[in-house]
Amino acid sequence: MKRVQVTEGISARCGENILLERYLERGSDEQVGMTITEKILAAHAGLEEVSAGALLTAKLDLVLANDITGPLAIKEFAKIGVEKVFDQDKVVLIPDHFAPAKDIPSAQQCFEVKCFAQKQQLKHYYEVGRNGIEHCFLPEQGLVVPGDVVIGADSHTCTYGGLGAFSTGVGSTDLAVGMAQGELWFRVPETMKVVLNGKPKNPWVSGKDYILAVIGKIGVDGARYMAMEFTGEAISALSMDGRLTMANMAIEAGAKNGIIAPDEKTVEYVKGRAQRPWKLYQSDADAVYHAVVELDVTDLQPQVAYPHLPSNVKDVAVAAAAKLPIDQVVIGSCTNGRWEDLWTAAQILKNKKVHPDVRVIVIPGTQDIYLQAVREGLVEIFIQAGAVVSTPTCGPCLGGYMGILAKGERAVSTTNRNFIGRMGHPESEIYLTNPAVAAASAVLGRIAAPEEVV
């Protein structure tokens, strides 16, 4: 069979044209290769073959909402006219955004979600104390597995692509439809292949820096409507926590989903956690890519995204040289609240003190991570350094609570967005970094490179 290599230099061309060219070259009876995203969507739509641009209805393996988007989805669900959700075992509700409730209206919203879960007898409702930030919690507990199609009423639902699942953020109405029907219509996205080559020389470079560098290169709408498929030797070498961080921020480039082909590391991670059988998909060698972006990470430095867009990145050395004083550091969130993130921050804060002008808020992503951090001495390191350690919550990332910024305050944060007013006052500033840079900055009271501290 004739193989057509289409992996490079096609960024300006449309996927459909390539498909057409290939049909002409081979004859229309021959199958054309598919990407992981296309394969998963096809399998869930009962189709053998799909290509970008196709509209289909896919079966949902999991439907997720939280205390912010859940109440609106429940309201819309009531209008549809069905009594029960499509499957009591496939709807996950997690109060994590403003929970434990920050005020009476938030308490009301959490309560509405809980009552709905009770009424519907949902298997996967997780109360505060037995949960975590949804996108840290679901992979950790094996609620989502490779090969799944998952929708969540939260834009960072794309996180599960790190496991080789198709997962995407939707609004509350789509979520309501998903809860009622167990299926949803999708347009099969074009795929952007993001190839990361090399091995970083800088030991503090992480998945966060990879994804920030990519967003810096392509812009906040650089992958709009597309699937971002991360591949290359740097991805193979990346930990599962790092992969989840990368897929998590695909939305920050406008993508529909981020995805990484599952490998031995994925299987190792999923084993012992998965609550269902999983399926591993790989892209075909002759899959059609709408665009290819390549990045050599050998000389990559930790990245700092300046206000007010995640694409506004600079090398940490440039940011450090600016000597901008900071007021707050947040280490946590669905982007960087996993074990590896806390562990890295602790390596830097060990036997150090937080700068007198700075407050540091550490938020473990889940109760399990929190417990492990207690057992392995991380919490003690943080407290001795002068940081506070919170229960898992999205809180400060979206300006909810637990670290709201005042007018004129400047924060370094391991979260995902630095939009105007995201963490508080519209005249506050957020600098996005990896956990090592955040911890080093906490010590020096300004944006700092990790090697300045350790």
Partner: protein
Amino acid sequence: MAEPEKTLDKVDQLKGKVWKVGDDIDTDVIIAARYLNRSEGEYLAEHCLEDLLPNLTAKVKPGDILVAGKNFGCGSSREHAPVALKYAGFSCVIAHSFARIFYRNAINIGLPVIVAPEVAEAVPEGVILEVEPATGVIRDLTNGQTYRGEAFPPFMLEILSAGGAIPYVRKKVNRRDV
């Protein structure tokens, strides 16, 4: 009696004064998370775009049109964002391009969103535009200039014809019951 069926060609022409915003307007700026502890449309509308255009809601008249640059509605999936714009009085949003979750949410809650790069670039704030949702034709009533917005794909037309995602699904559910 059943609810009257709303079809796209029965949607009135949209007409109103243009308000302009730039590129990459995110949903945090459309409705800040500090207001997400409630979800009523009227409440959200009071705070719509307030960090960018203070007191906007008091100035917008029903029917007015928001014209934006690239990637409108990026960021969070909060459906509160299109809801806030709708309840603030905007009859539709015209943009150079939309972020995908926002686009889908807007269609789902019945806020017309029209991709029209020419309008985003050429039309100044304050003029009166008239939009035909069924054809995508956009007229500048102050100078007679006509623009063409992107037509909705057939699949989406079906949802819009039903009056949004929920009535669309209700129809499907009822059909299954029969």
